[in-house]
Every structure is written in C-alpha cells, then in structure tokens.
Symmetry: C2
C-alpha cells in the first residue's frame, strides 16, 4: 500500500527562537490534496549516565511548558552543524551538565518525540565508566543534579512520577538491554 | 532549591491548525528575566491493544514531519472538551482505528513528548480482552493495521526499527508491568 505524501508547495508561517512552523500543501496517495503543519525543531541528544554503583545521574529543572519541575536524563539541543556528529554533542552536553566523561559510550537508538507534527529527532546514548570533573552548566540553566539508583528510577517511571518521554524511553531500553 | 519560573507577560506569536506558539516573558528564581517559547498542543491518547495471543495491534502510516512511514500504537489528539475524560477519547480512538472494544482498560500513565518547549501531554492505556467490529477510520487517514507479537514489537524497538516515543514508552512500560 502506497502511503507517501508528496510536498507540492508551502511556506514558513512562523520563525521562532527554537522552532519554526512550516505549512505545506501535500498530495496524498489517492490523489487528494491536504495541508500539513510541521513544527521544525533542531533535534537533540539524551544521555543515560550510569555509574559503578548502578546509579543514574539525573537533572531536575523547571519546565515552563508543563508548569512544574521534572526529573529527566541529561539532554540538550543540537546546534547547527552538530547533526553530522550527535555523539560528540552528547559528550559535550554530558560534560557540561554533570562533569562526567565516560569510558564507555554506546548508542541506544533514535527517538521521535511526536512524529505527527514535530520534527524533533533525539539521539540516545548510554554512558558508563564515568570519571568526573566540575560541571560547567549554562548560566541560565537552574538544575538540580542527583544520583538515583537505576531500580528507583524504573520504579518512578512505573508509578508515574517521571513522565518525560526521552527519559522513559532511554531508561527502559537500558533495562531491557542490560537485563536489569 | 527554588526553580519555578513566573510568567510576567507574553503573547501568541502563531495561531495554527493543530498548534499555537506562545512567547512569554518569565522571571527566573534568581531575579533575572528570560523568554520562553512554548508550542501549545491539545494533547492526546495512546492505546496498547493486546489480544489473547499476546499480539499488539499497530498502525503504520506516513509521517510527513519525519518523511517516512512509521509503525506506532493507535493514538489520537484530544478534541476540546475531551481533556476531562481522556479514557473515553482513547476508547473512541481505539474503536475508530482498529474496530476493537476492550473488556479490560487500564491507565499506563502520562507522557510528556518534549517538555522543554512542547505542551503535549499523552495519556497511555493498556487495552485487553478485545472484541472486534469493523473499524471506522477518518477518510483522510491512510493506515495499515497489523497484529504484531509483543516480543517482536519489543525487538523492533530495541533494534531501532520503531522510534516513536509514545510507542516505545507504552510497550516497554507494559513489558515491565506484565513481566513479559
């Protein structure tokens, strides 16, 4: 079954600080036409830093869009030019937010946050064998860094205390991968 | 540590078909001010329909924002007025997309797709003891409905074939919950 939608026109209807919005005209497989509203996001990286005692370094910060503080894995947006090497961006972000440098750094796959409308693509990594320097967070970032036992993090996901999609996905993929 | 950001002003900078964008002025805990760009989304529901043979009903469709077809769990946006009862919206969506009515329907928690900028809140449900009528999809929705063994779906998540955040989260939460 042919499902592909082809762009026939469109324009940028919003140009913002982090996102842009594109309104496109598309041709559907059956020959009908439609509109597609697309929120363009630069994408990002997500790191699950797991220490020798099987604790995960988490970041708690206020999320204005949601209206409360949330506990998440360290993450950051991709800058222009970083898309070719998201692993390098992830290592930089991990170092800045937590001070950690990993001896082992493996991809946990890609995540699409909301593929119906949002282009955001996240690159997930598992970081182990950590050594630490002082973190160097952005001045504007007000963060609480904690070390949470892996099992406790899973429990907080299962009981609904942690609701961030990238954190849920990366923690549970790691649980399956490492048989934890 | 006080992390809350307080709105001091702002305006809608984009009013779209599915999303709106709000640009707010905020007061940070330290007394500094900043801007917050917020993409407002109506939220949605996600259903994991699991049949007696431990197969999951999946929906494959073209995702224009990502530029390819994606396999996902059945899901839908909340209409205005449905936010007070997302379970009812989820039952309607499941019925429309797959024809299924569940005998057992339990919440799997809430998911925030991209809390740094996006308000989208998803309500996840596990549907079991399914009985079937003919599905009644929206005319514009070109979908391929399949039944995929639960273990195969987990494998496709782990090997990177499935990248949709809501699907990864709901399938792996179900795996942990049901000890699958």
């Amino acid at each position: 079954m042919e499902l592909t939608e082809k762009k026939t026109g469109g324009r940028e209807v919003y140009h913002g600080r982090i996102v842009n919005v594109q309104m496109d005209d598309v041709l559907l497989p059956g020959g009908k036409t439609s509109k597609r509203e697309v929120v363009e996001h630069p994408g990002g990286v997500v790191i699950l830093p797991l220490d020798e005692q099987m604790r995960v370094i988490t970041v708690t910060q206020y999320r204005y869009a949601i209206g409360r503080t949330m506990t998440e894995l360290p993450a950051g947006k991709l800058e222009p030019g970083e898309r070719a090497d998201p692993a390098a961006a992830a290592l930089r972000e991990l170092r800045e937010e937590t001070g950690a440098t990993p001896g082992s750094f493996v991809p946990l796959g890609v995540l699409h946050s909301s593929p119906g409308i949002f282009t955001e693509t996240l690159y997930l990594y598992l970081a182990r064998d950590l050594t630490f320097d002082a973190p160097a967070p952005d001045e504007d970032e007000l963060l609480v860094i904690e070390r949470v036992p892996f099992d406790v993090l899973v429990q907080r996901i299962m009981d609904g205390a942690i609701t961030d999609a990238k954190t849920v996905a990366a923690v549970l993929k790691t649980k399956v991968r490492l048989h934890l």
